[in-house]
Symmetry: C2
Subunit: 299 residues, 2 copies
């Protein structure tokens, strides 16, 4: 039933971790997996950014000043390059501006509605079909081995939680991600959580081990990512005692997905690819190691 | 096998929640349970405060100024009343001063060693034997019904995580609690998490729903606490759709445990006991509803 779409080389290290004697009481089989570029596609830009741009368009009538204010004006004109000119910082600002003030339940409903209709800009497939089939099969294999699987995303925790259970079989309490502050309020007699316009955790680079400690409290034994933002997570996970494994997906398949690494603004991967092998991390070539990439093309 | 030590009245509401048709996809059976005063005793003071005082005594040789600086000097003289005169704020300050700078693994080891030898000031029993037998049996019942049980403690998340699995069967990733900031560092070549002298989350009162949202991302359907610090948690959990239940333990058994509510500095309970019944919350009398209190006295 497993790894029908995965070359053996992709999986040869995992069975070692699956042996019961390789689980210690202090480090049960916690697995941490990045989302964007590791569980699903992240090009031409993070799918949450597509959602943020969609919200900016919806909210624009109530924010007339956005017409002349960057990066909002670029978003409203459909100028992707201008919208992203301010880098991660501008993306964060737009994320907070479009999420703050919503209750947790309103936000989740808004994302749910968006994902039900959103299609990928180049493949025109639903965003939730842009997941990686070999990774879905790896999740099944790990679950069968009773690994506790956590997503550790640079993206928003509450965004990923909306679809993680349905798409990956990973429940909301096993999602770690970037977060903005939240406040408890009784609004019109109903107790709610309201999203605030200030950062809580930036779950990227050194923020990933911090997030892992916050949410799990133990050092994982298996970490999988694809970019330099995952470097510290793999460094942390592979440094403990006993068998451990770090894996880096290399996006080298321009034909079936996207090919990018050192020069990409999204999912830039320099240090992970250079230093990873010296540290014993396994570099997975999507081109060579994966028989299929996305699920609808499976079989 | 279950509730041999619990009067039926304590449990009569739970079977309703256990029915499969009462679980919705949006709100699986998440349960949130306070720790101090709900899962174990919290008198004459929080057990984590005993640990903090123990660390102050150990660290004193390196901090000569503590001899004349309150509240440290009271702690060093063994003057409990003086040590607690500054209330929760002083406790927090002492907690940060004694925890910061330790790596996560050093801290966990320090707590582990402390709990292995610590005894309760009045009963002289090990602190980990001061848990409530009827609550252990309720946990078994909820687990059998596939509830996802989370501890939601005003105490430190990393403190509770050390013993939660062994004592309650609740793994570290299902513990929510107050936290100080953490930083990722590569120290002498080893990647570690280092505790910082600044607050992250105060998981008490309105901080409890915030913590629940942060760690679970869904509204629980069952919440159990014992003090006003749990009020907002019960308010939040019992406000959603479908069957829900809030329970407040009333410490009214001076003979078998401690009797306190409105006038106690630790675990003060005024609003929870007054308003709870009007909101349909079940008040559990430890004196009347529990056949036994602590496990060693069971059978």
């Amino acid at each position: 039933m497993f790894h029908v779409h995965i070359h053996a080389s992709f999986l040869e290290c995992v069975p070692l971790l699956l042996r019961p004697e390789n689980r210690t009481a202090f480090a049960p089989a916690f697995t941490v997996i990045d989302n964007d570029g590791t569980l699903w596609t992240e090009q031409p830009l993070y799918f949450q950014a597509l959602y943020v741009f969609d919200r900016i368009k919806k909210m624009a009538p109530d924010h007339p000043n956005w017409k002349t204010k960057e990066p909002y004006s670029s978003v409203l004109r459909g100028d992707l390059k201008g919208a992203l000119a301010g880098g991660e910082k501008a993306l964060l600002e737009m994320t907070m501006a479009t999420h703050a003030g919503l209750t947790a339940e309103e936000f989740a409903e808004s994302v749910r509605q968006y994902l039900a209709r959103a299609i990928h800009p180049t493949t025109k497939r639903p965003l939730t079909k842009m997941v990686f089939q070999p990774m879905l099969e790896l999740l099944d294999l790990l679950r069968a081995g009773e690994f506790k699987i956590f997503i550790v995303s640079g993206g928003g925790i509450d965004f990923v939680r909306v679809f993680s259970e349905e798409v990956y079989g990973i429940p909301p309490e096993r999602v770690i991600g970037s977060s903005i502050d939240a406040k408890y309020e009784v609004r019109d007699g109903k107790p709610v959580i309201v999203k605030q316009p200030s950062m809580d955790l930036i779950d990227d680079h050194e923020g990933k081990p911090v997030g892992i400690h916050r949410y799990i409290g133990r050092r994982p034994i298996l970490a999988i990512g694809n970019s330099d933002g995952d470097f510290e997570m793999l460094e942390y996970a592979t440094a403990g005692k006993g068998p451990r494994l770090g894996m880096i997906l290399h996006h080298d398949d321009a034909k079936r997905e996207f090919a990018y690494d050192k020069d990409s603004a999204i999912g830039r991967s320099v240090r992970a690819l250079d230093e990873g092998p010296k540290r014993g991390w396994r570099i997975v070539s999507m081109k060579k190691d994966w028989k299929v990439v996305h699920p609808e093309k499976a079989e």
